[in-house]
């Protein structure tokens, strides 16, 4: 059985990063942006901010235990000709601006290869990625280790994600979250970065699949079944690690830190998960299906809590409370 209601509940209560944390991220990124914009040294260069990564693409999940969750934000900066010989100056100057700030100077902040990281005390950090549109038209970020520019396409990935998610009827992002949950919380296929997992899953989504089955991505379990099965087919056809191109069209690939052994492990695990998902989805008996889904996702995969249990004013034993708003129309 598909148990679509269980999936909705599982995503809501267990997988998704809560709205409060998302709002907190929003607020903090806005505050950082305002602070950098107001900085006397670099404020005039700060032109805008563009959310990036899983936060922006709505594939972020609640981290395991006390692990930090994070937000990537691209800081659009005007090109400064004085820094043209040393792109890493952009990272150094953003770092220095935080260092000058009355609040952020006392918070842990550090320089990474492509960003400045600001760490909050309650399990989150924000990666600020300087991003410049050069006069020659290139969109670039900084590689501080090599003191060079790297091409990027800030909107391309977001556009690709939005397109693929629309084809999958809004279920691709949920499937990605579920698979990240398996990786992070169930310890499956560790070592495969989120951007690779996201790209591989997104690449499986094709509009033409709906010619044969218009409901190919109709709900979360069906989309999960088909996307993972299609990914499995692709991986089984590629014993040797394939290159994973940035779907934004930047010309970059994501696989430079993806080793063959990590890939092989990922390939085997996806093969196993595809079979598990198939069996759980197609089990005709509800108890069997639930058991199989729980074998995959854990005991938190369960039926939505009814309005009667745990309510402030419990109904008498003989009465049943109606569902909140049944999914029907007329």
């Amino acid at each position: 059985m598909q148990l679509a209601d269980h999936f909705n509940e599982f995503l809501r209560t267990t997988v998704n990063l809560g709205q409060v944390k998302l709002d907190l991220l929003d607020t903090r990124v806005e505050a950082i942006y305002r602070a950098l914009k107001a900085d006397e040294e670099i404020g005039s260069l700060v032109l805008g901010k563009i959310p990036q990564g899983s936060w922006a693409h709505r594939t972020i999940i609640d981290p395991v235990g006390g692990t930090e969750f994070d937000a990537d934000v691209m800081l659009l900066m005007a090109e400064n000709p004085d820094w043209s010989q040393s792109p890493k100056t952009y990272i150094e100057e953003v770092y220095a601006a935080l260092h000058r700030h009355s609040i952020y100077k006392d918070m842990p902040h550090s320089r990474k290869c492509r960003c400045v990281r600001l760490v909050y005390s309650n399990s989150m950090h924000v990666d600020i990625v300087p991003y410049v549109m050069l006069v020659d038209g290139r969109e670039v970020i900084v590689n501080r280790d090599e003191d060079t520019w790297e091409n990027t396409n800030s909107q391309g990935f977001s556009t690709w994600m939005r397109t693929q998610d629309q084809i999958a009827q809004g279920n691709l992002r949920k499937v990605i979250r579920l698979m990240k949950f398996l990786r992070d919380h169930k310890g499956s296929f560790t070592g495969t970065r989120s951007v690779i997992l996201t790209t591989l899953l997104g690449n499986q989504v094709h509009a033409y699949k709906k010619f044969s089955d218009p409901g190919y991505y109709r709900d979360v379990p069906t989309a999960l079944l088909h996307i993972v099965a299609d990914l499995d087919t692709y991986l089984q056809a590629n014993e040797i690690k394939p290159s994973v191109a940035d779907p934004s069209g930047s010309g970059l690939t994501f696989d430079h830190r993806w080793e063959q052994n990590t890939y092989s492990y990922f390939r085997d695990r996806i093969h196993k998960h595809a079979a598990e998902i198939h069996d759980a989805y197609h089990a005709e008996d509800k108890d069997t299906s639930l058991r199989l889904w729980q074998n995959l996702f854990g005991p938190e995969f369960k039926a939505p809590v009814s309005a009667t249990s745990g309510s402030k004013f419990p109904a008498a034993a003989t009465t049943v409370t109606a569902v909140a708003r049944p999914g029907r129309a007329g």
């Binding site: 218009p214 309005a307 008498a316």
Partner: protein, 587 residues
């Protein structure tokens, strides 16, 4: 005789609900108390005051500020068919999302689907109220999704008033002249320039400074009060009062009324800023003719020195609210958003053949948002066709194409409909087509489309549709994508070979086989052309499904053949797609 003796006794439902409330209060006296004696109200309702211990509810920045205890008045209707309502007797909640007219809490978004008096009863209602308070205190409500939040959370509508249709974006200016153009006795369309043919009434469109959390009121004076200085603001306001807007509204209204005929009502459109930002909410109001005439007199008497004191407006002058059909693109999401038919949005579609399938398909395409539709058919409407084609009695004797065009224009007056009474549109019309749907079941027409596909380069999406002769419950759609050199007829022929060789698709074999005796009917004695069996319900369903499937090909190019069967067709599968994989042409 005391008035109380005439009041009806509480109904069984009210007694039951009251008993449940008392029982719940007895179980959790620290959480819930009933205050005072239930009071009888109009229409047999029973009003019960509750006190809830709301102090422990978690609060968040921006959430509803609750006191340690809050009192609520539940209104129990006489019958469980109506939902119970709940309100507060203060203005502290006014302006918060899902608070209606400042006091009533919006517990149900859709009472029809959420209110179930027989399952869970009043305890379920208490739980909804508690959840509402929890979410409100925690700041969980999304202001942009609260219905009519800008205007007190309620629909403004007075029975008998016409609907104002707004399709163009609102004005940038605070005050702008609009024109209401009568379309029917129920409908007036708003325009911002006078129609060339005249016959429009002037209406001021006024953007006010802030939201109307209490709504627009029921009298003219009340509206002006709410615009200038809502009652809850009088309690809250510590800063100097904003500039009153009512003088400008009155002056503009009177000036507009003076330009409209005596004895006619005066309309007013208020653009009300939404607390969550974005386009303003539009309210349509109407002053009855006597009030409008009074304004006209003032305008004529005072001339350019027109200045009306809002305090002189009689408090009993009623204002009527007109429903607004707000179709501005910035605030309206099409109800078919995300569905397959969305592929037709903005497209120029040809429908060749306006019969059992074509007539419905043309209608569905127009409802799907096509910008232009070209229809052609050489036939005329006869009475027998009304059984299953979408023509009406008045069409009998008319050209099918012309009759269908009338219907399409009636469905959507923004679509451009082109009509050809022949079998084919002319070459000029063909040039603009993005989609051609051949619903003629004509072999010769199939050859024409095949030639079009083979003519080189991109061509319109070409489609051919048909149903079965025996039942009209099967559907066949062959599609040729813009870069496919084979037309739908060739694709259909190729699909037929596969279908006939597949026992699993036996249901569909008849679509490629000779018609057996009895599968057709002769509808009228003497009629020489046998036709198929089929009913309007089935043909509309087949046509609708084929239109949706074709819509998919307009979003994603692809060629092939769809086979469909309605659920009550004698067999399965109910859908099967045969992808067209043409053999590359060899030189």
């Amino acid at each position: 005789m005391s008035g109380g003796k005439n009041r009806p006794a509480p109904t069984d439902w009210q007694r039951e609900a009251l008993a449940e409330l008392r029982e719940a209060a007895a179980e959790q006296p620290d959480v819930l108390r009933l205050v005072g004696v239930p009071a009888r109200g109009q229409n047999g309702v029973l009003r019960v005051t509750l006190r809830l211990h709301t102090g422990p509810l978690a609060t968040a920045d921006g959430g509803l500020v609750l006191q340690e205890h809050e009192e609520f008045v539940l209104t129990l209707p006489a019958s469980p068919l109506s939902a119970t309502t709940v309100e507060v007797e203060h203005w502290r909640f006014a302006g918060y999302p899902h608070v209606l007219q400042g006091r009533r809490l919006c517990i149900f978004l859709d009472p029809a689907r959420e209110w179930d008096p027989l399952r869970g009863g009043i305890r379920a209602y208490l739980n909804r109220l508690w959840s509402w308070l929890s979410d409100a205190a925690a700041g969980q409500f999304n202001a942009s999704k609260a219905m009519y939040h800008a205007v007190g959370g309620v629909l403004h509508q007075t029975p008998g008033t016409p609907t104002l249709v707004v399709r163009v974006p609102g004005p940038d200016q605070r005050i702008q002249t609009g024109y209401l153009i009568a379309r029917t006795e129920h409908r007036l369309d708003l325009a911002y320039s006078p129609p060339p043919e005249g016959r429009a009434v002037r209406v001021p469109v006024i953007t006010i400074a802030g939201a109307l959390p209490l709504g627009g009121g029921s009298t003219f004076a009340e509206l002006l009060t709410y615009v200038d200085n809502p009652p809850f603001d009088r309690q809250r306001r510590s800063s100097p009062q904003a500039v009153a807007q009512s003088p400008a509204i009155l002056t503009t209204l009177a000036a507009s009324a003076a330009r409209n005929p005596d004895g006619s009502p005066q309309y007013l459109i208020l653009a009300v800023p939404h607390p969550a930002g974005g386009p303003p909410n539009l309210l349509g109001a109407r002053l009855p003719a006597p009030t409008a005439d009074a304004l006209r007199r003032m305008a004529h008497e005072q001339g350019s020195a027109l200045n009306i004191d809002a305090s002189q407006i009689r408090p009993d002058l009623l204002i009527e609210w007109c429903p607004v059909s707000d179709e501005r693109p910035a605030v309206t999401t099409r109800r078919d958003d995300g569905s397959l038919i969305g592929g037709f949005l903005g497209k120029h579609v040809h429908v060749w053949g306006c019969g059992g399938l074509g007539s419905w398909i043309a209608e569905f395409v127009v409802r799907g948002g096509a910008s232009q539709v070209t229809v052609c058919d050489p036939g005329t409407v006869t009475g027998g066709l009304l059984v299953r084609q979408n023509y009406v009695e008045a069409d009998v004797g008319a050209s099918k194409a012309q009759a269908l065009a009338r219907r399409l224009r009636a469905v959507d007056d923004t679509v451009a409909v082109h009509v050809h009474d022949g079998v084919l549109p002319d070459a000029t019309a063909l040039a603009g087509a993005e989609v051609i749907i051949d619903a003629t079941v004509s072999i010769a027409m199939g050859h024409i489309l095949d030639r079009l596909a083979a003519s080189g380069g991109r061509h319109p999406v070409l489609a051919q549709v048909a149903t079965d002769t025996r039942t009209g419950t099967l559907g066949l759609l062959s599609v040729s994508a813009p870069t496919t050199a084979q037309g739908p007829s060739s694709i259909d022929t190729a699909a037929g070979k596969i279908v006939l060789a597949d026992p699993a698709l036996e249901l569909y074999h008849r679509l490629w086989q000779d018609t057996p005796d009895g599968d057709e009917l002769v509808p009228t004695r003497g009629c020489s052309v046998p036709t198929f069996h089929g009913a309007s319900a089935d043909l509309a369903a087949v046509a609708g499904t084929l239109t949706s499937l074709l819509g998919m090909h307009l979003i994603t190019p692809g060629s092939g053949t769809h086979l469909i069967a309605l659920p009550h067709a004698a067999g399965s599968p109910h859908h099967h797609f045969l992808a067209h994989d043409p053999t590359p042409t060899t030189p």
